[in-house]
């Protein structure tokens, strides 16, 4: 009797498997051409592992700015003169203290003011140009949802404040019910949080995933907001009327992502690392306003026995990394291949797409610069 029941159960579950979405054949019509290199020198107290960065246009000059968590500073590198204009240090303590920047994962220029967000403390602070704290809010104390604060497109400006991306808080459990409000609006005036409709793709349903596989990235142009989920070759698109659709925006280098077989993997970092780095994924997504293209990062994964969790990307011959290039309508036009890229640090200027790359020199930030050209 039990065997019969089990058979029915398996058949029933089997019939609920998600349909495999088709992968279209695409002829690439553009090439990404490397046009130069930018090398930014670092002082003796600055890491080449950039976590928070921003570009800034001010008084006719363009800057690459980045956070130095060691000395609580923002460094302003002038891209025209290729020299630092200033280093702005912020107090850790006192009435205008911002704490140590160790867990400050993001900052954002708001005119003359700067907003800082700490993913560790869930604290959002805004300082004016005199570095006086003019706004404080802690999502841990007062809110039920908090910005994830690490991925691309973590924040968008709105009429009343901001729209933040959050993350599904259900790693290592079977995802029977998918969350449908993973972003939220925040009012600067009332400090109210309003959940926004943003459903997790059905590709996640009835399976177990790591947190790294649940967090997502966003980008937008004037018409669309797009969402890149690590396991899904399809991009999810929010239209201006709030409706959602999806479109293939994947790469052949990423094979279908296999869910976690057992939560036991969470107890063994080496096995977890082999699982995570042994297969491909999608991650960051950007919109380049100069060339009017979307770029979505894709990683091929590597053979599990080649995974070195101490140096995951050390052997660049064991995996592939690309940016999928798509136009304003999210039609794929080509791929930019660079196995050394650190795809979390990318910025755009008129002269090209700037992508941070791995080097052995700890005293330099090295960017490869690309242009997109028709074939």
């Amino acid at each position: 009797m039990f065997i019969v029941y089990l058979a029915f159960f398996l058949i029933a579950c089997g019939s609920e498997r998600k349909p495999v979405q088709p992968v279209p054949e695409i002829d690439f019509s553009v090439d990404a051409v490397k046009t130069g290199t930018l090398k930014i020198p670092l002082d003796s107290v600055t890491s080449n592992n950039v976590t928070a960065f921003q570009t800034l246009s001010k008084n006719g000059a363009n800057y690459f700015t980045f956070l130095n968590y060691f000395n609580n500073s923002i460094y302003y590198y002038n891209l025209e003169t290729q020299a630092y204009d200033s280093i702005q240090q912020f107090p850790e303590e006192g009435p205008n203290g911002l704490g140590k920047f160790e867990s400050t994962t993001r900052y954002e220029f708001l005119g003359d003011s700067i907003m800082f967000y700490s993913r560790g403390t869930l604290q959002l602070n805004i300082v004016n140009k005199k570095k006086d704290v003019v706004f404080k809010y802690n999502f841990g104390k007062e809110g039920k949802i908090a910005p994830y604060g690490m991925m691309s497109g973590w924040i968008f400006r709105t009429d009343i404040g901001f729209n933040f991306s959050a993350v599904a808080r259900t790693p290592y459990v079977v995802m029977n019910d998918l969350p449908d409000s993973l972003e939220f609006g925040f009012s600067l005036e009332t400090k109210e949080v309003e959940n926004k409709y943003n459903p997790l793709p059905v590709a996640y349903q009835n399976e177990i995933w790591m947190l790294e596989q649940l967090r997502y990235n966003r980008a937008e142009n004037k018409k669309l907001r797009v969402y890149s989920y690590p396991i899904d070759p399809y991009i999810h698109i929010r239209q201006q009327d709030g409706s959602f659709s999806s479109k293939y925006f994947g790469s052949k280098i990423v094979k279908p992502v296999v869910p976690i077989a057992s939560i036991k993997i969470a107890q063994d970092l080496q096995t977890a690392g082999q699982y995570y780095f042994g297969q491909g994924r999608y991650e960051y997504i950007y919109y380049d306003p100069f060339r009017k293209v979307f770029l979505r990062s894709a990683y091929s994964g590597m053979y599990e026995d080649l995974v070195d969790i101490n140096n995951r990307y050390g052997d660049t011959t064991s995996f592939d990394k690309v940016f999928i290039i798509g136009d304003d309508e999210l039609s794929i036009k080509g791929e930019l291949k660079n196995d050394r890229m650190r795809e979390h640090v990318v910025f755009f200027q008129e002269n090209g797409i700037h992508i941070l790359v791995e080097t052995n020199d700890e005293d330099l930030l090295t960017f490869d610069i690309y242009d997109i050209v028709e074939k």
Partner: protein
């Protein structure tokens, strides 16, 4: 009920076996380092600090080294899986070119059986590892013990 003692013995045996394997792996790797410059018999403990893992435990161990480096000549410090030598120097603010600091640039001490999410203390006698403890959030007092042992 009668299975409980058996289960206890089984778990204890398994735990001891894992520990012994870890110590054996560590001993092999440490012996391979032995040289005129690094005399392992000079040390009664080895503290292995991974660059990645339990961040609070790692920073606790790094702070221990920073604050006590001039008083712990009998403890060998091995930094492994170092994300950035430059930032390690900045964080510690000490000269890393010391007899009792070893930078494991090949990540030997963060692989195989000796791999750990936590800093690990190996207890030594005459160049042989006898026992180990992990500096986990529940065991942070072990660093205080290390500091006090030298007094």
């Amino acid at each position: 009920m009668k299975f409980k003692p058996f289960l206890f013995i089984l778990l204890t045996t398994f735990s001891c076996s894992v520990k012994n394997d870890t110590i054996a792996d560590f001993q092999n790797k440490l012996t391979a380092l032995s040289s005129a410059k690094l005399v392992i018999e000079d040390y009664n403990k080895v503290l292995v600090i991974p660059g990645a893992g339990c961040s609070g435990c790692v920073s606790g161990a790094e702070n221990f080294v920073k604050e006590n480096i001039h008083q712990i000549d009998e403890i060998l410090i091995i930094f492994t899986a170092i994300p950035s030598q430059k930032m390690l120097k900045v964080k510690l603010g000490i000269d890393l070119d010391r007899h009792n600091i070893y930078l494991d640039l090949d990540n030997q001490f963060n692989s195989g059986k000796v791999y750990s999410f936590y800093p690990t203390i190996f207890y030594m006698k005459d160049g042989n590892a006898l026992d180990l403890d992990y500096v986990s959030p529940e065991n942070k007092y072990l660093l205080n013990n290390l500091a006090n042992d030298r007094e």
